[in-house]
């Protein structure tokens, strides 16, 4: 690596030496650093303004109207804050928020506990741990929609593998329960799939946290005859905490936005028991075509994610500073 760097520099120097008379002139003619900085950064900013910010502003504007995208020629009336009022007082919204909260809470809890435990075990550095770690990582790289779709097959009551395995270990007949069709089980069906997919994610970040703890701290603890239990709670957990919190932040944001996997597994059903916020939003915006009202809901969701994430990042920074 360093050798090739040096070669490169040598070649660059050589080429520059040949070109010295022009080189000076070219340098004067070259763009100023300031111009280059803006030249380099502005395409990204312009793209984001066009595809993220402009639509966002449009959505804010629409959220104050009764606009419906399936009736582009109908008269658009400004309704003020009525859309926001309607959404915040609608029981459906709160049902969706409850479903989202249930989903986010349990997925994060399960993924953090299992992910951290796995990372801790992998950090024992048993033989072959690198291979098994790579294998464990595979589910999180796959398309949640395509894989989620296939889980519908695994969850089939009579023929599905999931029900068969459960009945194999518990003796409950496999056709006696429907993971996706039952009001009590469906929320857990989506939690299981999400946990299966994303535990590796938390595991990977936790593993980085565990590996960042220097050995000498454990050596010192050993000299002080701290028990393994004590070492775990006084060294391992606190020092890995910023990493765990980072993983929770990323999973939290992602699962708050959750759409694809749930849309394919349950579509929000049965009834609306697994209707997380994004599914409600899709129904309102693209099935009921209440564009104005759903824009208001979208803004509320965005502000919620953004606000919660900001508060969380502040807390994270405070923990890091300790």
């Amino acid at each position: 690596m360093t050798d090739s760097n040096r070669n490169l520099i040598d070649r660059a120097a050589l080429r520059a030496a040949h070109a010295t008379p022009h080189g000076v002139a070219r340098r004067v003619k070259g763009l100023s650093d300031r111009a280059i900085a803006w030249l380099f950064i502005s395409p990204t900013i312009i793209l984001l303004l066009a595809i993220n910010i402009f639509p966002l502003i449009w959505a804010i504007q629409l959220s104050f109207t009764n606009y419906r995208a399936n009736r582009p020629n109908a008269e658009v009336v400004n309704v003020g804050l009525r859309n926001y009022e309607r959404i915040l007082t609608d029981t459906d919204t709160w049902m969706a928020m409850q479903a989202t909260a249930h989903f986010v809470f349990w997925t994060i809890l399960l993924q953090t506990v299992i992910g951290f435990a796995l990372a801790y075990l992998i950090d024992r550095k048993f033989r072959g741990h690198a291979f098994w770690t790579t294998l464990i990582l595979i589910p999180m790289m796959l398309s949640p929609a395509v894989v989620g779709n296939f889980w519908r097959f695994l969850y089939q009551p009579q023929i599905g593998l999931f029900n068969y395995i459960v009945s194999f270990f518990t003796g409950i007949p496999p056709s006696s329960f429907e993971m996706l069709g039952s009001v009590t089980l469906a929320p857990w069906a989506i939690i299981i799939v999400d946990t299966w997919m994303w535990t590796p994610y938390v595991m990977l970040i936790c593993l980085a946290g565990l590996r960042s703890i220097p050995d000498y701290i454990y050596e010192a603890a050993e000299v002080d005859r701290a028990s393994p239990w004590r070492q775990f709670w006084s060294i391992t957990v606190p020092m890995a905490l910023p990493f765990i919190m980072l993983a929770v932040l990323f999973r939290g944001i992602e699962n708050f936005k959750m759409f694809d996997m749930v849309n394919l597994l349950t579509g929000g059903g049965p009834g609306s028991i697994t209707e997380v916020a994004s599914i409600t939003l899709k129904r309102e915006a693209f099935e009921a075509w209440r564009t104005g009202q759903s824009s208001a809901f979208a803004i509320i969701l965005f502000v919620a994610v953004f606000g919660l994430a900001n508060i969380y990042v502040k807390a994270l920074n405070r923990i890091k500073q300790r």
């Binding site: 299992i114 741990h129 770690t133 936005k257 916020a277 979208a298």
Partner: protein, 317 residues
């Protein structure tokens, strides 16, 4: 026992601890592979085998799922089928055994092609824009740099459905609905935040002295960027490109809402594969398997950069 272990550092786990840890991790890995193994196995089952009870672990492998995935078929009388000449291939034969003939290609391959075009196009754009912006943020004092970088990241926090509402309207106005170009631009905008953050980290790691040496030797800043910085950042650019590619490849929410026909990608298409009398699970499994293989390869290639990619460069190891 004690005498043996003194050679190790005190923090080295004991042999029993390693064995227990290894067993548990391997157990988890194997259990978590079951759904993927099942997809793979189902893709080689015949439709009756795929829905048998108890689920079949041993079965006669057949290519029927793959044949059904790529073709559309019509039912014919056995007299008609017998009147045809010898079958032209393995799929022809399998189809005829089910009293059907191949009517034409299915939409799977066009959808797969859309996925390829959109993933490659948006990755190329996102990485090109990203590497320029990342260099700008890394090397120059940009006013409000932190705010701009945070702004770039924050675009990632919006729920895709929330973004999709105005994008849908905007694309309808601009005639970009259900076009590959529209999807490429959209995925570029989503991916560019990841690209900027990741590439800034990679470029920060390249010593400034390299460019400065080149500039003293007469290179302009632009030449130094193209001839010194870019070659140094190859690994980072490759890793970033793969992450962008995986996102675009896997994306479903925008694709299902904004494409319906000509520009539809594979993720919204695969769940709609249906056969006669219910879902044709072997065909779905075959489509899923083909769709997942590139990602498996990428994951193995990327394993050292994975951590960095999934945390937007926040954790670098």
């Amino acid at each position: 026992m004690r005498g043996l272990s003194t050679a190790h550092s005190v923090v080295e786990p004991s042999r029993t601890a390693k064995r227990v840890a290894g067993t548990l991790v391997i157990l988890y890995a194997l259990i978590s592979m079951i759904p993927l193994a099942w997809i793979f196995m189902t893709s080689f089952k015949s439709p009756p085998d795929s829905i048998s009870y108890p689920p079949k672990i041993v079965f006669d492998p057949t290519l029927e799922g793959y044949c059904n995935l790529f073709t559309t078929r019509t039912r014919q009388t056995s007299d008609y089928i017998e009147s045809l000449g010898p079958p032209s291939g393995i799929c022809d034969e399998i189809t005829r055994n089910r009293n059907m003939v191949i009517a034409g290609p299915s939409k799977y391959w066009p959808r797969f092609q859309n996925s390829l075009i959109i993933a490659f196009g948006s990755t190329f754009l996102a990485v090109s824009l990203g590497v320029l912006a990342a260099y700008g943020f890394s090397r120059f004092r940009v006013p409000l740099a932190d705010d701009l970088l945070f702004f770039i990241l924050s675009t990632r926090m919006m729920p895709p459905i929330a973004v999709a509402i105005p994008i849908y309207l905007m694309y309808r106005e601009l005639g970009l609905s259900d076009t590959a170009l529209g999807m490429i631009l959209l995925y570029t905008a989503v991916n560019v935040s990841l690209a900027v953050w990741l590439l800034k980290g990679f470029i920060d790691e390249i010593p400034r002295e390299y460019e400065e040496a080149a500039m003293i030797d007469g290179y302009t800043r632009l030449q130094a960027f193209f001839k010194v910085v870019l070659p140094q950042a190859t690994t980072g650019i490759a890793a970033t490109a793969i992450f962008c590619m995986i996102f675009a490849w896997n994306e479903y929410a925008f694709a299902v809402l904004l494409t319906s026909g000509t520009a539809q990608t594979a993720p919204p298409f695969i769940p709609t594969i249906i056969g006669e009398g219910g879902l044709d699970w072997p065909a779905v499994a075959a489509g899923t398997t083909i769709f997942l293989v590139p990602i498996l390869v990428f994951t193995i290639l990327l394993r050292r950069q994975l951590l960095r990619g999934i945390t937007f460069g926040a954790v670098r190891k």
